[in-house]
Each structure stands twice: as C-alpha cells, then as structure tokens.
C-alpha cells in the first residue's frame, strides 16, 4: 500500500542529519527561553546533537547501501555519493570546530544560544545544499547556511571589524545569491527545468551543440554564485575582509563548511549537469583557476595579517580544487581528496589562531606569533605542520593531494594550468614559511602572553596534525573513498 507520502518520496532518514541538527537547535532555543540553563547543559546538548548527526549520517549510509542513488521528496533531495561525502565532510567540520565555536559562543554575553543555533542551522542549511537535487532547493539551502554565516561574522558586536565583516559578507553574499538565483531563473527560462539531473537529461535531449546560450549563461551564473562561496578569484574580494573581521573562533567553521559544501555541489554539477557540455566551460574554468592562483599568490605575498593570508591562500587552494573539478571525473576525485585534506589543515590553523589570540578577537597580525616557540612548542610544531601541509610539502597530506591532482591534470593535458599551479606553489613557500619563521625561527625578546591550552584543544589539534601527516604517508583509504565517489560517473 503506497500512501501519498510514498509517492512524493518521503523519507526521513535521508534528511536525518538536517533534522537532527534542527532538533538540537530548537531544543537549545527552547531550554534557553524557558528556563535559565547552565552553560554546560548547552554545551552537552550541542555536542550530543552533533554526535547524533554523525549517527544520522551513518543511517544515511545504510539507506544508500540498500537503495543506491535515488531521489526523494519529489526529486528535491538526492542521495548519491556526493551527498554522502558532503554530509560526512560537514559533520566532520562541525565536530572538529566544535571546541572553538563553543568557546567563542560561550564568550559572547547572553548570545550563546543564538550563536549555537546559527551554527547548527547553517550546518543544516549546507547539508540541505549538498543534498539538493533541485536548484531552488540548492538556493534555499545555501541561503540558510549563508545567512547564518553573515550573522556569525558580526556576532562580536563590540568590534568594528566584526561589524564591517558582517556587512560586507552580507552585501556581497546577497549579490552572489542574486546572481545564483538569476542563473537558476535563466536555466529555467531556457530549459523549463531546474534540477541537477533534469538539466543533464534536457541537454542530452536537445544535444550538447544545441544548448541555448541562455542556459549556458544561466549555468555559468549558478557556478559563479557557488564560486563566490569558495572565494575563487575574481570573487575572492570578500574573503580576506571577512576572515579578518570575524571572531577568530568562527572563521575555521565559516571557511571550511562553505568551501566543503560549495565544492561538493560544484563537483556534482560538473559530473552530472555539465557532463555533456563541460568542454564549453573550459575557457571559463581555466580563467578562474589561473586568476585565483595568481591573484591569491600576489595578494598573499604582501600580507601582514595572518587571517587575510590564510584567506588568500584559500583563494589559491580554491583554484587548485577547481582545477580538478573542471576537467573530468578522475579530477573530481582528486579534488575531493584535496578538499578533505585542505579542510583539515584549515581547521587546524584557525583553531590554533583562536587559542593564541582569543576566540573573539578579529585582527591577527603575523607578528602576534612572535615568541610562540618559547611559549608553547606544541602549538608551534602543529602550526608548522598545518602550514607546510597547505604549502604542499612532502610527508604531509598537502603533497599527496597536489600530486594526485596534478597527475590528473597532466593526463588531461592541461599543461598551462599545471605550470601556473606549480608556480604559485613556489610563491606559496614564501608566504607560508613567513609565519613559521616568525613563530618558530626568529629570535625575539617579546614573548606573547601565556597561552592556556585545554586538553580538548590539544587532543583536537593533535588529531588534525596527525591526520595531516597520516594522509601524507598513507593516503590510500581516503583516495579509495574519493575514487568510490565518482565510480558511477566514469
């Protein structure tokens, strides 16, 4: 007997992670409003919620194993490998950043609950985004996530930089959303569809050579909207300002969750929707990649603020990841590997920043690091590992990801891209080593204030550092996972 809900494809396992996060947020809201709650309750409720989400993702795995790739909710929600990996990434980001965003939130007077709700909600939004099969759904998910992030950036209201970050992020983000939804509208207007798979079907129906210009532009605008979120040049302008201004404890989460979900969606677009017409976007992607890598390197060289530097390095990394996504399926698997390792390093770096400078502070000049080695060797070493990982030095995961990616690019004969990417790596060594120099090498008399590092932080950072090294030495498992992701699309 099939009810209406079966016809519409209702399945609550598939949106289980979203619902769990939502429920956690609502419980938090409820307990805060009704009774005066001690902070540790909030903490454990949040933690419990995140752990349940992990469990929900496991359930989703089970569903995938039994049903395979399938759509739910009248083709609004899609369960495929991208969605699964995206879910896992987002949940892991939540888990890894929990410590710092919890500490940051608990330091904001009377706004702890709101901050936590915003974070959980944004995660649920991004989860929806990677799950969505429909572009409108994608847009909604993106907006849920982004709006929370705009607010998070401005949560430290006493700080002008934080306000500024929030406003800039909001204005530019909204503009990007406008462009994205306009792209969706153009695709709809030219193909009368608005879905990931539908696009692919429509294109194969009319033939790749007959795809109307309008839908091409529409797709481009969608991609631009997503590229904005990952801060690829020339849509990178917001990233350094926002990273710099936002409360340090949140930046790790903000940067990694947006990047993870946007790239997963881009990968799916590239593998599914653009499957037949990917070569038409060749020039566009090449331009974006080269611009990202060059501008990122150029701007980063001149930075004295560490958060801005990481932002620009993110621009370069976006170029790298995008380069794999834009050409063929093997490249996508390489890019996802890259993405996963990069996110680990990114979170690690920002966790360390927030420990050193305090959760709420916005500015983080490189000179803040001076004397770090004297004060805390653990942080210095792990920080160096993360930076070297981002730089792509062998024995770290950064090298493996670069190697796989470049190998794929080379086999697609993208020689120019390879050259540009490698040149930026050289430049990268200049500005990635600069903070290490200040932190570990330079002899200085002025020591930074005493750093108190909690055991949980220590555990978290060492886990991330270990992962960075481990994936550099034995990357087999993760490579297999990323390869499994794309196997159906070969």
């Amino acid at each position: 007997m099939t009810g209406i809900s079966d016809i519409l494809g209702f399945n609550f396992v598939v949106i289980g992670p979203t619902l769990t996060l939502l429920a956690t947020a609502l419980i938090l809201l409820f307990v805060t409003i009704t009774i005066s709650t001690p902070t540790f309750v909030k903490k454990y409720v949040t933690l419990f919620g995140i752990l349940s989400t992990v469990f929900a993702v496991f359930l989703k795995f089970g569903l995938f194993l039994s049903d395979g790739v399938s759509s739910y909710f009248s083709e609004k929600i899609l369960l495929d490998e991208f969605a699964l990996v995206g879910n896992v990434l987002i949940v892991l980001v939540l888990l890894f950043t929990f410590n710092s965003f919890w500490k940051t939130s608990s330091q904001i007077d009377n706004k702890t609950t709101e901050a936590l709700i915003l974070i959980l909600m944004s995660a649920s939004g991004f989860l929806l985004m990677v799950d969505s099969e429909n572009f409108i759904m994608l847009f909604i998910g993106l907006e849920i996530g982004s709006i929370s992030l705009y607010a998070l950036a401005g949560l430290n209201r006493g700080d002008q930089l934080s306000n500024e970050a929030s406003l800039k992020y909001f204005l530019l983000g909204s503009l990007a959303s406008c462009i994205l939804i306009y792209g969706i509208a153009l695709v709809y207007v030219s193909l009368s569809i608005s879905g990931v798979y539908e696009t692919s079907i429509a294109i194969s129906f009319i033939g790749p050579e007959n795809v109307p210009l309008t839908s091409l532009i529409g797709l481009i605008l969608i991609i631009v909207g997503l590229l904005f979120k990952v801060a690829a040049a020339p849509f990178q302008a917001w990233a350094p300002d926002v990273y710099q201004g936002s409360p340090t404890g949140y930046v790790g989460y903000m940067a990694s969750v947006a990047k993870a979900s946007s790239f997963i969606v881009l990968a799916r677009l590239s593998a599914v929707s653009l499957n037949f017409i990917i070569d038409k976007f060749d020039l566009f992607f090449t331009a974006v990649i080269i611009l990202s890598v060059l501008l990122g390197a150029l701007f980063a060289t001149n930075q004295s603020d560490l958060k801005r530097l990481i932002a620009y390095s993110g621009v370069i990394q976006s170029g790298f990841i995008l380069s794999g996504i834009s050409f063929g399926v093997y490249g996508i698997s390489a890019s996802i590997f890259y993405l996963a390792t990069y996110i680990i390093q990114l979170i690690g770096v920002f966790t360390i920043f927030s420990i050193i400078s305090g959760q709420l502070s916005s500015n983080f000049a490189i000179s803040n690091l001076s004397g770090l080695f004297k004060e805390n060797k653990f942080l210095t070493i792990t920080f160096s590992i993360f930076m070297l990982g981002i730089a792509g030095l062998p024995l770290t995961s950064g090298f493996v990801s670069k190697f796989i990616l470049i190998t794929n690019l080379w086999s697609y004969e993208k020689y120019i891209l390879v050259t540009v990417l490698m040149l930026s790596t050289v430049a990268g060594f200049y500005f990635y080593l600069k903070p290490i120099w200040v932190a570990a090498v330079e002899k200085t008399d002025n020591t930074i204030e005493q750093i108190k590092i909690q055991n949980s932080d220590k555990l978290l950072i060492s886990t991330l550092a270990f992962l960075t090294i481990y994936l550099g030495l034995l990357p087999n498992t993760l490579v297999n996972i990323t390869r499994w992701m794309v196997e159906n699309y070969l």
Partner: protein, 102 residues
C-alpha cells in the same frame, strides 16, 4: 502590430537586474544597496513568472514564493546588521567601513 512576447519581459527583467547591479556599484549607503538587491531579486521573480507563463508551468510561480521568502529573510538580517552597526558608529555608509583592506 507588435506582439508582447516573453522576450520583452525577459529583457525588462534583465534591465531591472542591471539597474540593481548598477546601484550596487555606485551607492555607498548600505540601505540603498539592500534596495538594489531587492530590485535584482524582483528581476529574477519577473523572469520566473514570464517563463512560467511561457511554458504553462506553475513551478515558476512557486519558485517566486521561495525567492520572496529569501528576500524577506535577507532584509531582516541585513537591517539587523545595519542597526547593529548604527548603534556602534551612527553611520550606515558602507564606505566608512574599509578598515580591513589590502
């Protein structure tokens, strides 16, 4: 005799979108920039509805609802940000806020 086709509406939407974009480029007042964003979202809505009529599908109009809600939500957050900034420095001009740069 000229016939009003879907293209006309689409062109109108494109012009509206461009004007919104133009406003984003020249104005410094955050409030007005919001309004420009509203203009652009409305251009999108116009496109959706024109397409909806063209294809005889209702989905385009449904999409407009979602865009509407998103626009409303954005306005709420945006205005909240402006209020928050205004409390701090009594100005809503975006150009004052260029401490982080370079």
């Amino acid at each position: 005799m000229l016939e009003v086709t879907t293209d006309w509406y689409l062109t109108l939407a494109a012009i509206l979108f461009s004007i919104g974009f133009f406003g984003m480029m020249i104005r410094k007042n955050a409030l007005i920039m919001f309004m420009c964003i509203e203009l652009m979202l409305n251009a999108v809505n116009l496109t959706f509805i024109a397409a909806s009529k063209h294809f005889g599908q209702i989905d385009g109009q449904i999409a407009v609802f979602f865009v509407l809600v998103v626009a409303a939500a954005e306005v709420v957050v945006g205005l909240a940000i402006i209020v928050s900034i205004f409390r701090k420095q009594s100005s809503a001009s975006v150009d004052v806020l260029n401490v982080s740069r370079g």
